[in-house]
Amino acid sequence: MGEVILTMKGIDKSFPGVHALDHVDFEVRSGEVHALMGENGAGKSTLMKVLTGIYTKDAGTITFEGKEVEFHNPREAQQAGIVIVHQELNMMGHLTVAQNIFIGREPRRGLFINDSAMNDEAKKLFAQLGIEINPKETMSSLTVAKQQMCEIAKAISHDAKVIIFDEPTAALTDAEIDQLFVIIRDLRAKGYGIVYISHRMDEIKKITDRVSVMRDGQYIGTLVTEECTKEEIIDMMVGRVIYEEPKTESHCPPDAPVVLKVEHLNAGRMVQDVSFELHRGEILGFAGLVGAGRTETARALFGADPKQSGDIWINGKKVSINSPKDAVEAGISYLSEDRKRFGIVLKKSITENSTLATLKNFTRGMFINKPKEAEVTQKYVDALKTKTPGIDQLVMNLSGGNQQKVVIAKWLVNDSQIMIFDEPTRGIDVGAKQEIYELMTRLAASGKAIIMISSELAEILRMSDRIIVMCEGRKTGEFDIAEATQEKIMSAATRDIDMQNRKPVQEGEAS
């Protein structure tokens, strides 16, 4: 580990109503991987945005390579040698890989951009990283992982001294993660200072040298990774120990009737011949790595995406579901993992969102029965303890957790017997998480049949009565909670791949 190259002291930043950063300190040495951890909203990303000049700080100093610096825009930061590999990859899909890497500083011959020189440069970079990517390919035709590699290549091409990885593994498969780590280690060896933001404990243990933890916009402390335990870090992150006791046996009575039966469901590459049953009052966990085809299965089942084949029975009756409309009428509801895009109408009020799926129950003739609407909405706001000044509040003014509650309310109002929760706790802070768990348990107890898709193994093990594991679009395992173990699930989730350097894939921060 080399000398300190970057120091941030007493960084302070407020947004209207939020004190995002409260005098935070942070430092990076050259040749180290420095983890920055904390719950969502702890201020990690904000801190990095201040560092890279996307936000301007209210107070505090940044010292880089011995002299105090102040970046007003990403450009300045890049030129100084601080680059960030963004969590939501910021690439221009229509341009080629090389064009993306060199956007804003294209080599030119006279008036014209010298693309061939650019491609050669890019080739060199990839060679340096030991990756196989054709610089001439259009960005959007690459896999997410490769796109990220390009981002890294871009970072290096800025001859950066400090590279920030913001949730780099959120969307990667394990093989890809390993490849990423190889690269990161290589960069560390080359003396780069690396900031690594992630939630994934074992990644932290595996790749980082030091860990700094933030909570509620404050700097809590820094530990040397080898010398500390997961628990210590978690305690620092959440300020209290939370027990995520795995279920020991199914809470669902063995004689519970089958509510949903899916047979030989096929939808594109990501859903191949998936069959399963779902019982009344059961929570069926869908485990697997990101990109295993669980969400796709749910969407196909829900009629959101077209499916090639597959039969669906509900309460023993065969139903044909070709659109979300059919699904909802059949009593299925789907809480998407991407709330903002597929879950809620941000510009509209809680009321309007809550009754979106069930408006026909709130109409007198063709008119909307607003009093009834308001009454029901209020009921669920209370029931779910949604924090809001009123039911006319626009959803975009609510926190992630409360937005999720509005989505849940929408489906509760619909009173559908089958509920699909896709990453129900993604981007939700610990407290709200707890509430959501309790809520799901209550729902199951009240006789609803629940499918829970989660990439967080702890969550799966804690909530599910039964677990289905998917891998590359296929169902690769089914366990009763009693017999399920991390190892079993992981081996199913990764099929033949050897078990040594395996770890559960955990939740990633929502974008």
Binding site: P324, G343, V345, K348, E352, L356, F367
Partner: protein, 341 residues
């Protein structure tokens, strides 16, 4: 000053109408005063604020109003309709031609207008919502087609609807009812009444019914609405159908005031209709629509063109002024949204 403004903003009426609407009404009042003064000064002592000028201004407001109301629905769903003007003309041409040449009874011809409009709306709606074509292009194509059909049907001829004294001329009293009180001929602007009634219906549909709720919501986030089990295509299409129908309806009031329709014309009315609803605060981004605003917007346009005339100015001023007011309204809207975020 500031708290005065806030107190004003918090008035019940203002809150119901929305601050921007109230401002627009202010604009109307100011415009009227300016026109009053200028037409006196510049145009040989002309008087602007007279009942006669009011009704004649309204004549222009009726059909623009109906067009704008229709467009409001489409814009609410996040689309745009660039074909309403020609569609209106096409409806007027065909039904008028039938009245003149095939001896259709007037009431049939009148009913035909909205029906023809509806056909165009349905076709456009289908292409946009079921085949997912960009609404702008679709309506461009539709505009050409409307022009073509109209002029083919009428053999490239003008169509003149009957005058008030001719048989079937009663349809004119839909837009202007002439009654004689003590030897004085008085013009009741029935069109205004109908426009307001239709506007109220529209705002009920938009704000109080399932259809309206869905249209606005899918304008804001189509996918979320679809995944709530709503058949978005159906409701989006409905918006275009309503738009087309209202365009056909506008035709009745166009001929009611102007009698004669030409083939291959009417595109300029698109711009004025769209301008009217954007002025009124309907957002191009979808998810935000105000019928009241649209109506006020159309009135501003109508009053403007009457004012220009009464000042004895070249018609050209009307376009440029409308453009400036439109820009002003939009910029103000954008700024206020900026401040809120």
């Amino acid at each position: 000053m500031k708290d005065l403004l806030n107190r004003f903003k918090s008035l019940k009426l203002v809150r119901i109408m929305g601050f921007n609407r109230v401002v627009l009404i202010g604009v109307i009042i100011v415009l009227c005063l300016i026109f009053q003064v200028l037409s006196a000064v510049l145009n040989h002592g002309n008087v602007f604020l007279t009942y006669a000028r009011f009704t004649s201004a309204m004549n222009y407001g009726y059909f623009i109003g109906f067009l704008a109301l229709g467009v409001t629905f489409v814009i609410a769903t996040g689309g745009i309709d660039f074909s309403v003007g020609p569609v209106m003309f096409c409806a007027a041409l065909i039904s008028g031609y039938c009245f003149n040449n095939y001896g259709f009874p007037m009431w049939v011809s009148l009913i035909m207008c909205p029906l023809i409009g509806m056909v165009f709306g349905t076709v456009g709606g289908f292409f946009v919502s079921y085949l997912h074509l960009p609404s702008f292009i679709t309506s461009l194509a539709l505009m050409q087609i409307a022009k073509g059909v109209g002029s083919i049907f009428t053999k490239t001829q003008n169509v003149s609807w009957p005058g008030s004294s001719d048989p079937g001329g009663w349809y004119r009293s839909l837009s202007n009812l002439d009654i004689t009180v003590g030897g004085q001929r008085v013009n009741i602007p029935t069109g205004l009444i109908i426009l307001i009634v239709v506007a109220i219906l529209c705002s009920i549909v938009l704000n109080k019914t399932k259809a309206g709720r869905y249209m606005i919501c899918l304008g804001a986030n189509r996918e979320a609405v679809r995944l709530s089990g709503v058949d978005t295509r159906r409701w989006e299409m409905l918006a275009y159908v309503i738009c087309g129908t209202l365009a056909g309806f506008a035709a009745i009031f166009y001929v009611g005031c102007y009698t004669t329709v030409q083939p291959v014309k009417g595109d300029t009315f698109n711009n004025e209709a769209i301008a009217a609803c954007v002025m009124g605060g309907t957002s191009m981004a979808g998810g935000l629509a105000s019928i009241l605003g649209t109506v006020i917007g159309s009135f501003i346009i109508a009053i403007m063109q009457e004012g220009i005339l009464s000042m004895g100015f070249n018609i050209a001023f009307q376009y440029s002024l409308t453009a400036l007011i439109l820009l002003g309204a939009v910029i103000a809207d954008v700024m206020s949204r900026r401040r809120r975020n």
